[in-house]
């Protein structure tokens, strides 16, 4: 590098740092959604196509609660946020539970495609249900959590921003992941889940309540998706009935990339997808960022079908 372009050098660094920060925040959100896909796939081997809609529903409910609390008015911000989190988690979990009960459980013994098609139907129905009842226009939320840190490297005029919100997103994600890891590793539910993942009929013979375990898996996936929904609403400030579709596909890609069935894999995959998207938007073209994600999906499935952290498996004949 020449002597004269120190400025440019810092600029490159700054820009990269900014995309890095954006990528992590985005990736944390994708990771939270991806866990829902990966757990369900791990346990019943189906793609819960409506999971993106569950996330969208979580975002709507969270936004409603925050609006009901009058958002930023007075010192209620924390209360509003916490209530939004709790109410949205509870109601969205109920959606996840009912979804499994109504649309998937009766099809568990049928041909593989039946459940997937039922899931696609649910996805379309939920999207249109929200569009019909809440309208097609975007819903906005003015920024609630403000502030943050600003960095400047060298004498460029480019400022790297690390917002408080981004910090919160990452912290909440880490906290949830920790709780979750404990839940899976230490509790009876986690054990039951792992048992069902390996062999459902065997688990049933050993006294595991398979139906309940599957239900709870959907509930947990939905709860995490609702948190992602809340954070996206805060982060972007706009949502509509269609946000679940693309986010869902990206999160699914993340789950596949990380190794379907693996929860750390889902988080890792989410981060990688978030990075790719931020970098691609930052350096190439924002229009083609979704194409980049889909390309990753295809490439991973072709060359690394078990993902990064997934265990290779020989199809049993």
């Amino acid at each position: 590098m020449g002597h004269g372009d120190g400025r440019a050098h810092f600029y490159v660094m700054d820009y990269f740092a900014q995309q890095f920060i954006n990528g992590i925040s985005l990736g944390a959100i994708y990771g939270l959604i991806a866990i829902g896909y990966t757990m369900v796939y791990g346990i019943i081997g189906m793609i819960n196509f409506a999971h993106g809609e569950i996330y969208m529903i979580g975002a709507f409910i969270a936004l409603m609660v925050m609006v009901a609390f009058g958002i930023g008015e007075g010192g209620l911000v924390i209360v509003a946020l916490l209530s939004a989190l709790l109410v949205s988690m509870a109601l969205t979990s109920l959606y996840g539970w009912v979804l499994e009960r109504v649309a998937y459980r009766p099809l568990r013994g049928s041909q593989r495609l039946a459940a997937l098609i039922s899931a696609i139907g649910m996805s379309i129905a939920l999207q249109n249900y929200v569009q019909l009842t809440q309208g097609a226009r975007v819903k906005t939320l003015p920024p609630i959590i403000q502030g943050g840190f600003e960095f400047q490297f060298g004498d460029t005029d480019f400022i790297v921003r690390l917002s408080a919100l981004q910090i919160m997103i990452v912290l909440v994600t880490i906290a949830l992941m920790a709780v979750f890891a404990l839940l899976i590793a230490r509790t009876a539910l986690g054990r039951a889940q792992r048992a069902c993942q390996q062999d459902q009929s065997m688990a049933a013979l050993l006294g595991v309540n398979v139906d309940r375990t599957i239900s709870l898996t959907f509930v947990m996936g939905a709860a995490l998706a609702s948190v992602a929904g809340l954070m996206v609403t805060l982060y972007y400030g706009v949502i509509d009935f269609f946000v679940g579709f693309i986010a869902g596909i990206k999160a699914f890609t993340a789950a596949v990339l990380g190794g379907i069935g693996s929860i750390p894999g889902a988080m890792l995959g989410g981060l990688l997808i978030g990075f790719t998207e931020a970098m691609w938007s930052g350096y190439f073209s924002i229009e083609y960022k979704d194409v980049a994600t889909f390309s990753i999906l295809v490439i991973v499935l072709i060359f690394l079908p078990t993902g990064i952290l997934g265990t290779p498996e020989v199809e049993k004949v």
Binding site: T311, V314, E315, V317
Partner: protein, 278 residues
């Protein structure tokens, strides 16, 4: 090892993660003979079949097939499953039945003649225009299918859905279907499972017929000892993935290692034998 054997399996090993399902197993199958592969459940018999027919890629080992007609030699462990059937003509049936349930019995047997018929149909183009050459080839295939339908006693079901057939008939359908692939080696995975004694008797006859009249070698996995002892020329015994004995039915029957594997160690109760032979 006998280099003139039809099939030669050398040092076959198959691992799944930490589990060694097949552990350094070698044996060979002679031309025109019926060989049996026996052993308790989980001994690795089906896994051997899966390696032979390309469904699993063995971790270690070489599987050689010397084609009796073309003098060609095939290294099966390097071939894709469908190529093993198409080129080396090693055909198998499945322990858990795999018919095409919504297709008729005849259609099942027509699918088995797919490669031949594809060529005859000019990769579909001749078929689309209804070329006479294709119609003749198709008629010949139907005739061949009908021959095996009669042989396996499925005549009354020929045009019914395969999935609607009784259990024993589905097992025979799989054999008929495999025979329509024109094999040089037929691998049968527990063909007598779930059959009653008279059905088993018929099955033994059918297997003998296939060897005697079509000069096809058979590799048989079976738990029904009276059938195995009656029909086999040679028996290989597996236990925990390892070959523990080999020889004629007479030799195997009297081999102490085999008795031990089937009956458990000396201080076990002998009624374990009932479990292991189901």
């Amino acid at each position: 090892m006998n280099p003139s054997a039809l099939l030669q399996v050398e040092h076959l090993t198959m691992r799944f993660g930490g589990l060694v399902a097949v552990d350094d197993v070698s044996f060979s199958v002679a031309q025109g003979a019926i060989h049996a592969l026996i052993g308790p459940n989980g001994a690795g018999k089906t896994t051997v079949f899966n390696c032979l027919t390309g469904f699993y890629k063995p971790s270690v080992g070489r599987i050689t097939l010397n084609s009796p007609e073309s003098q060609a030699t095939f290294l099966l462990e390097q071939m894709d499953d469908f190529r093993i059937v198409r080129d080396a003509r090693v055909v198998r049936t499945f322990q858990n039945i795999r018919t095409f349930p919504k297709m008729s019995v005849l259609e099942n047997l027509m699918v088995a003649q797919h490669n031949h018929l594809m060529r005859a149909s000019g990769w579909t183009f001749l078929g689309l225009i209804g070329a006479p050459s294709f119609r003749h080839a198709e008629a010949a295939s139907v005739e061949r299918a009908e021959y095996w339908i009669d042989r396996t006693g499925l005549a009354e079901y020929a045009d019914s859905e395969a999935g609607a057939l009784p259990y024993g008939e589905q097992r025979r359908l799989e054999i008929a279907r495999a025979m329509c692939c024109d094999p040089v080696l037929l691998c049968l995975d527990e063909p007598a499972a779930g059959l009653n004694p008279s059905e088993t008797e018929q099955l033994s006859e059918l297997i003998g017929y296939i060897r005697d009249h079509h000069h096809i070698s058979v590799l048989l996995i079976e738990h029904d000892m009276s059938m195995v002892m009656g029909v086999s020329d040679h028996i290989v015994v597996l236990d925990y993935g390892q070959k523990i004995a080999e020889g004629t039915p007479e030799e195997v029957r009297n081999d102490p290692a085999v008795v031990q594997a089937y009956l458990g160690s000396d201080d076990d109760e002998t009624d374990n034998a009932a479990d292991t032979t189901t």
